[in-house]
Every structure is written in structure tokens, then in C-alpha cells.
């Protein structure tokens, strides 16, 4: 690939981020920073019970609070046919409860007042008379004969949502029947929450004079949300403008539409004034956007030499009270069928059953391309269990079973076509860099002294960048994505995309793609996203899809511009197009490089000296439908030391060697890896949204839902290999989620490895010191 100068700042340059200047000066524009004339504030009244019938709601005292303007209940919404809304998974969800509540913190009423304090006061005074109902917390009991029926609204009178299966069941069974070695693991991937530092919120502004709704909201997918508001709310789509301003982190939390957004719109329609609704942290953790909650069993069939033959997976998925999973329509368990990992198996079979429980609805793809984190964790844990069974080094076992380079594009037994991979080179770099053999030796010596040290390996593959459109849609909308580039007469540019950054640095990286393709310095390229009135339609940013889709669209749109630029250059140079050559920034006549026209000359001519027969202007738009997903991969190695007296785990070293193909901005990629590893660390050791037997949330504040600070977070070591995607316009793959997908298994494998000689085979996350201390105690280890 042509390397542009640092001044141009194309692909491969670690240029500093363009968006930073406003953030470091406190001049960002997040949704709670928006203040409109006559703005009002909304506050949700939430259920204290996990399952209860609503006998009555009395709003009289609440209405008497000075400053209160309106109180909306489910019954009010039902009159407008808005008490329920569709979810992204073909289910429906209550906006405000009618009849009964199905999870703690469910939305019951919406209070609107002149200021947020009055709204909160009044919400406290809304009297709801509940009759408690039996609570279903354990998904394993959801299908029991005596289980309470949660969803009385459905025709189907049980708590089962879906059964989904993929692969060759008889073929897989046959291999298992004859297999000399089998390994099995039961692993629970706990319910957790992405908890971006900014919670969800919106300002709904219905202009009753024009009939136009402007919706400022924390949306990772503003266009899709506009369409859904139009379809559900009946407002003509041309009369809805969704603006997604600066977003304080998303990680999947800001993909779905939540009841609060709908209530704010209803409130603004009712009052003719803007309504602001901002979640508190507890509301965020207790009601919106949980992830995972997969009870998984995996079995591997192998021969005695460690050649893996088949994989069998059975999973019970807890979706809470409504199936509000945010994922492509045809995939009720997302892309979980990537669970064969980077191993070349003869056969596989995977089945997932989803059930309802009295918990918050979901689940969303938390820094994950739809259940890929669960899949990567499961296979990478299962391989370690097999290694233990075979008494084989986990590295050797993996190596033996990697998909060989010659097999790409590789068709997996569960139906995916991996675009490219070089797993051995990646693994070798990681082993050399961390000094694997020396670490094993050290571990052996430490064991003799009664000290606990563990080494965990995870060699994962991901599947990111949905489309292609023939397979992927969300609520019927195909998962392409878009870019529009306009070059101004002076050679500067503005680009708009259908995606939406939540901190990923799009304003910089998309500008670098334009710089690479057209030679216009990245500094001269303004990138705008998030305003549906101006940006081309797209499905948004999640599932590591921005670079694979809108990034690709940016390159293709730039190439369209280059085609036109070539015609203009030929006219200006009085040469034929065939005689022109391109290098980023200029066309020149073959053999005489001084006869050249820069992209800036050409842009000026596009408006001032237009060749006969050509349209004025220099712009292009592209809606990019990827031919396949991209399959980034990596090797993560974690070294832990365990304090046998306290059960405390110290991550001594963690090395991530990633391969995401060609890189736009190495600094930003490394930053994404640091952040994703820290979330992986949190999931492995700290984060869990648990429930007690009455359905009370046990992780409803940052006091109970633990996030790592700078003190718990180790220094991350990173490196890379480069295996470009063969089908992506500039050979890139998604990266933002790899560290979160690949790392939990590395952490857990390291802890289990430290305790393996005591007979420990598995520990469910989050692995707290308390859990480890209990294991040590049980095994007779004394501090």
C-alpha cells in the first residue's frame, strides 16, 4: 500500500485525534448538555417488584407537586396503542406497564415537570398498588411444569422463547459415539452490563407548529431508530430528525430503543414542549442493555493425540422479561455459531434455547458482534479442559488443530466462510514475545515451593462487520452502510456516514481513509455523523462494523470521486485518461511527472473550469454491502499470581497479539485494545448483574457493580501480525471488540492453570478472591 506523508496522514499513520480538542476543553456536546427553550424533565416511576400485578395507580399526590405538568401511565399509552413497542428480536416490550410488571425497575409511569427535582419528587409520590406474584429467577426452572407463566400476553402459554440449532446433529453424534477422548465443560457466562460512563438519555422536541420531531438521543444507530419511530409512532419519517450528539461510550448499551425514549416523545407530543429524559446510573444498570447470561455446555470429541474431531454445544439463554436482544433478525443467538473457533473440525452441532425470566430484558451485544464473546469464551475454555484431560500443553493442543493457512477461505462446519487467517504466525509471535517456555519453567519451580502461578492462553477468532445484506438485517433493514464525500472548491472535504462514533475516533480514521484514497490531508477532511437529516442512511456502529462497512464505503466513494477527477485532470492536462497515472494527491502524465494536477487543482476546476459534457461538482456517495464478514483473530497470553492467603489474583503480565488486517491508525487501534482488555478483565474478575431469589438486582449501583480503576488495571502489552481481509477494499478487519471477546478466556484459563494441579477444572466468572480463597480452603491449602 502507498504510504502517504505524515502531513497527508493516510493509512498507517498514528495521527492525533481530531475530536480531542473539544473533549479536553469540556466543549463536547453530550445529550445532557443540550438545553432547549421551555424544556421540561421526565422521570420514570419504576417497579420495586420483579413480578406483580398492578391493582391501581394513584397520581393525585404526584400531580399536586408544584411544577408537575403531566403524568403518563400505561393505561394512557394504551389508548394511543403505544403501551407496547416491538423489540429488535421480533418480540414486544411494555413501554409502561399495563396489567402487571415483569422485572424489578420496570417502567410504570412517566412524570414530566418543569425541572428535574420536581419530576423526581413527584415520581416518589405516584402510588402504585401491587399484588406480588411468584418470581421466576432461575432460567433452568423456566420450563418446569409449576413455573409461573410470565408472558400472559402471548398465545404460547409457557416461558420458552425460541429453539435454534445449526450444524449436523447425526454426523456430530456419530463422531462422539466413537471418540476415544471427550472433554466437557459447563460454563456460565454471567449477566453483565456495558455501563458506558454516560447513561442513556434523550431530548424529544416536537414542534407542534410544523409537526416535526427532533430527537436528540444516545443512539448508536440513529437512522434505524428514525425508521422505527416512524413505523411504531406513526409520525411520517420525513418529519423525524434523530440527532445523536457526542456519545459517552456505548458498547452496545445504546443500540436498542428503550421505554424512556418513547415516553419522552409522547410527553413532547402531549405538551408541545421539549422533554429531557436522562437515566440515573441505577436505572441504567437495572433496566437497560444487559448482556450475556448464557448457560453453556460444550463437549469436544478428540483422538488420543489431541486431534479435535467434533464440537457439541447446548446453551440456555436467559433473555429476561422480554426478548429485547439487539441482533440480526435471522439470528436468535447472534453469531454464536462461531463457537468452533479457529480449529479445523470435521463436524459440529450447536443448539440454543431462549427463555423468559423476571429480569431486565435483553440482551445486547456488549462490545461484541452478537454472542461472539460467549462463543469465543466457551471454545477457548473447552480446549483448555481437553488439554487438561489429555495432559497436553494447551499451546500444543491448539497448534495441532488450527485451520491451516492453505485452507482459507475456510468453510466452518457451522456455515461461516472465514476470509483469511494465519494463526500459527500470530501464536508464535506471542509465545516468543512473552517467553512461554521460561514461564512454564518458572511455574514448575513455583509449584514446588507451594506458590500459585498460572499461564492462560486464548487463541480466538472473531466474526465482525455485518452485512452482507443477503444474510443480515435488523427489523428488515439490510445491514449495508454508507459514506458520502463532498470535495469543496478549495480542495477541502466533508464526509458523512451512516455509522456513529461513541469514542472510536471516526472523525480521525474516516478522514485518514479519504487522505489515503484521494491524497487530501486528513486535517482538511471534516467527518460528521449522527444527524439523520444530513448523513446518508446506515445501520450504525456496533459489532465492530464501522471500518468493515462505512470504512469500505468511504474508500469506494473516494474511488468514484477519483474516476471523475481523472476526467477533469485529463481535460486540464490536455491528455487522454489512459495516459494518466495516480498517486495519492495527484494525477500525472505517464513518464512526465511534472505534468501533474493535484486533487486540489482538480477540485477547483470541478466548480470553475468544468470540462464540456461533465457535471459540475466533485462528490460521491456509496452504500456498501460487504461480500462477507471479516474474521480478525489473535493470541492473548495472561500470567497470574495468586495469593494463597487471600485468594487475590494479580495479573502480572498480559500480552495481546492481534491481527485485524491493514490498520488505519495504529494509535487508535492500540487504544481500542487497551480498553477492550480492561473490560475483559472486569468481566473475568468483577462485573456481574446478579439477582436474589425475589428478583432483586444485586448490582444496581457502582457500589455493587464493580468496575476496574487504574489501580486494578495492569499494563497491557500489545503486538500485531497483519493478514489483510481479501474482500475489504483496503484489507481491514474490525478490531474494537477483539480484546473484549478474546480476553475473558485468557484470564480464566490463567487462574484455572494456576490451580490445575489441585484438580480444579473450571471456575465461573467473575472470579473473585472469595471464590479462589474458598477453593484453596476446600483443597486444604493454607496461607
Amino acid at each position: 500500500m502507498f504510504k502517504t506523508s505524515p502531513e497527508v496522514g493516510g493509512m498507517g499513520h498514528s495521527i492525533k485525534r481530531k475530536e480531542d480538542l473539544r473533549f479536553i476543553q469540556g466543549r463536547g456536546n453530550y445529550v445532557d448538555d443540550i438545553s432547549l427553550p421551555h424544556m421540561t424533565y421526565g422521570q420514570l416511576v419504576r417497579s420495586p417488584y420483579a413480578h406483580a400485578r398492578i391493582k391501581s395507580i394513584n397520581t393525585a399526590k404526584a400531580k399536586a407537586v408544584p411544577g408537575v405538568l403531566a403524568i403518563v401511565t400505561g393505561e394512557d399509552l394504551a389508548k394511543a396503542n403505544l403501551a407496547w413497542m416491538p423489540t429488535l428480536s421480533g418480540d414486544k416490550q411494555m413501554v409502561l406497564a399495563t396489567g402487571k410488571v415483569l422485572f424489578q425497575a420496570q417502567e410504570v409511569a412517566f412524570v414530566i415537570a418543569e425541572d428535574r427535582y420536581a419530576a423526581a419528587d413527584a415520581a416518589e409520590l405516584v402510588e402504585v398498588d401491587y399484588e406480588e406474584l411468584p418470581v421466576l429467577v432461575d432460567p433452568k426452572k423456566a420450563m418446569d411444569a409449576g413455573a409461573p407463566l410470565l408472558r400472559e400476553d402471548r398465545e404460547q402459554k409457557d416461558n420458552h422463547i425460541f429453539h435454534w440449532e445449526v450444524g449436523d446433529k447425526p454426523g456430530t453424534e456419530k463422531i462422539f459415539k466413537d471418540a476415544p477422548v471427550k472433554a466437557k465443560i459447563d460454563a456460565f457466562f454471567q449477566r453483565c452490563h456495558p455501563a458506558p460512563l454516560e447513561t442513556c438519555g434523550c431530548v424529544a422536541d416536537m414542534n407542534t407548529a410544523t409537526g416535526r420531531l427532533t430527537m436528540y438521543m444516545t443512539s448508536q444507530a440513529p437512522h434505524a431508530h428514525r425508521t422505527l419511530f416512524a413505523l411504531v409512532g406513526g409520525i411520517p419519517e420525513n418529519n423525524i430528525r434523530v440527532v445523536s450528539p457526542d456519545i459517552g461510550g456505548g458498547f452496545g448499551n445504546k443500540v436498542p430503543i428503550y421505554p424512556g425514549y418513547v415516553c419522552a416523545i409522547v410527553g413532547s407530543l402531549t405538551l408541545g414542549r421539549p422533554v429531557k429524559w436522562i437515566e440515573t446510573r441505577s436505572e441504567n444498570l437495572m433496566s437497560t442493555g444487559f448482556a450475556r447470561d448464557y448457560h453453556m455446555t460444550a463437549e469436544i470429541a478428540a483422538d488420543k493425540d489431541g486431534h479435535m474431531k467434533a464440537l457439541r454445544v447446548k446453551t440456555l439463554a436467559d433473555h429476561g422479561a422480554f426478548n429485547a436482544a439487539a441482533q440480526p433478525t435471522k439470528f436468535p443467538a447472534g453469531l454464536f455459531s462461531i463457537c468452533t473457533g479457529n480449529y479445523d473440525l470435521q463436524n459440529a452441532f450447536c443448539e440454543v434455547d431462549g427463555v423468559y425470566t423476571n429480569k431486565a430484558p435483553g440482551g445486547i451485544a456488549y462490545r461484541c458482534s452478537f454472542r461472539v464473546t460467549e462463543a469465543a469464551y466457551l471454545i477457548e475454555r473447552a480446549v483448555d479442559v481437553l488439554a487438561q484431560e489429555l495432559k497436553m500443553d494447551p499451546v500444543e493442543l491448539r497448534r495441532k488443530n488450527f485451520i491451516a493457512n492453505s485452507k482459507f477461505p475456510y468453510k466452518s462446519p457451522l456455515g461461516w466462510t472465514y476470509d483469511s487467517g494465519d494463526y500459527e504466525t500470530n501464536l508464535k509471535l506471542a509465545l516468543d514475545k512473552i517467553g512461554y517456555q521460561a514461564l512454564r519453567k518458572e511455574q514448575e519451580e513455583k509449584r514446588k515451593k507451594g506458590e500459585f502461578m498460572g499461564i492462560g492462553i486464548s487463541t480466538f477468532v472473531e466474526i465482525v462487520g455485518a452485512g452482507p445484506a443477503h444474510t443480515f438485517d435488523i427489523a428488515g433493514i439490510k445491514m449495508f452502510d454508507s459514506a458520502e464525500i463532498r470535495i469543496h472548491p478549495t480542495g477541502k472535504a466533508i464526509c458523512r456516514m451512516g455509522t456513529k462514533s461513541q469514542g472510536q475516533g471516526h472523525e480521525t480514521t474516516y478522514a485518514q481513509i479519504v487522505a489515503q484514497e484521494l491524497g487530501i490531508p486528513a486535517a482538511d477532511v471534516l467527518v460528521e455523523e449522527g444527524d439523520t437529516d444530513t448523513a446518508p442512511y446506515g445501520l450504525g456502529t456496533y459489532a465492530s462494523r464501522s471500518t468493515p462497512t462505512s470504512g469500505a464505503a468511504t474508500a469506494v466513494a473516494a474511488r468514484k470521486i477519483r474516476e471523475k477527477a481523472k476526467k477533469i485532470a485529463a481535460f486540464l492536462l490536455e491528455a487522454s485518461e489512459e495516459d494518466l497515472e495516480w498517486e495519492p494527491g495527484k494525477f500525472f502524465v505517464k513518464g512526465s511527472p511534472s505534468k501533474a494536477k493535484t486533487i486540489q487543482d482538480i477540485a477547483f476546476a470541478a466548480y470553475t473550469n468544468i470540462p464540456p459534457g461533465l457535471e459540475a461538482g466533485l462528490e460521491a456517495v456509496d452504500y456498501y454491502d460487504p461480500p462477507n464478514l471479516t474474521f480478525p483473530f489473535g493470541t492473548y497470553i495472561c500470567v497470574v499470581d495468586i495469593d494463597k492467603g487471600t485468594g487475590e489474583i494479580k495479573v502480572r503480565r498480559f500480552l495481546a497479539v492481534d491481527d485485524c488486517g491493514n490498520i488505519i491508525n495504529p494509535m487508535i487501534v492500540e487504544g481500542q485494545i487497551h480498553g477492550g482488555l480492561t473490560e475483559g478483565l472486569a468481566i473475568a474478575f468483577m462485573q456481574q448483574i446478579d439477582y436474589d431469589e425475589n428478583g432483586n438486582v444485586q448490582g444496581g449501583t457502582f457500589m455493587d457493580y464493580l468496575l476496574p480503576t487504574a489501580v486494578e488495571t495492569p499494563n497491557w502489552e500489545t503486538d500485531k501480525t497483519t493478514t489483510p481481509s481479501p474482500h475489504h477494499p483496503f484489507g481491514a478487519k474490525g478490531i474494537g471488540e477483539s480484546p473484549n471477546v478474546g480476553s475473558p478466556a485468557a484470564f480464566v484459563n490463567a487462574v484455572v492453570d494456576a490451580l490445575a494441579h489441585l484438580g480444579v477444572k473450571h471456575i465461573d466468572m467473575p472470579i473473585t478472591p472469595w471464590k479462589v480463597w474458598n477453593i484453596l480452603k476446600e483443597k486444604g491449602v493454607t496461607g
Binding site: Y117, G248, T701
Partner: protein
Amino acid sequence: MANKQLVKVKINGRSCEAAVEPRTLLVHFIRESLALTGTHIGCDTSNCGACTVMMNGKTVKSCTVFAVQADGAEITTVEGLIKDGQLHPLQEGFKQEHGLQCGFCTPGMLMSSLALLKKNPNPSEEEIRWGISGNLCRCTGYQNIVKAVQYAAKKMSAAQGGSK
């Protein structure tokens, strides 16, 4: 609504006042009464530190202070870091070392880092990590924030004649 009380502060060098309910949190006073929205709210329990500001030379989490308690105080927020159009070395460091992604924690991180460097101009990595441990970041994994603080410490000590 309770009777309002007049609260006067000197914020980023400017004298301001507004009448608020006695229960008004300082963070709401700053963000809404004084329209300085750089200071953020990330939790309800004083854990996240997004609302960190300097009050009379010390950092406070402004979600845990009433506006009336700040009456007469000198307050510095993120908007007050820039001087004569020059970014503060910490602001520069965060940009140079990629110490931010979504930017939501950044104002609070900057204020806690500022307090740390005032107290300890040449902190070790461990001291930096402890110094910002009252502030949560969900994007960066802290590593580049540590580097950003080191960048600023170096630049600030060089500006003071390289004295340690």
C-alpha cells in the same frame, strides 16, 4: 419547592451567582445555573468521578456537594484549564498520548490529575494510578491516561527550570 438561596462563586476566575433550591447539587448548579457543561454526571454514588472539580484548591465530586456549601468558594472546572488560548500541559498530554476516547470521563480525569500534580509534581506510575483511582474510565484502560499525566509532569517540571 423550597425557598431559593443565592449562591455566589468565583468559577474559573469569573464571579457568578444564581438562586437555587438549597438541595441543588453543585454539579447541577455548575452545569445548569452557570451553563458550564464540561463537568459531567456518570453515577449516583460518587464512584465515577466524572463530576470532579476543584473547590478552594481541593478536588471534590460535585455530585456530592450542595451548591449552598460552595457559596463563596473558588471553583475550577475543565473549562478553566486553558490559559490565554494555551492548552494546559495536561490537556496537551491527553491529546498527545491518546488518553481519551469517548471523552466523558476526561474533564474529571483532568481535574484529578491536576490535583495530583499540584501535590506531587513528579509522581511514579503507581502514584498516578492511585491519584486517578477515584475516576472511572470505560474506554482507555487507563494506560494512556497514565502516560498523559507523565507527559504533563515532564512538561510542567521543564517549564519550572527542570527542577525536580
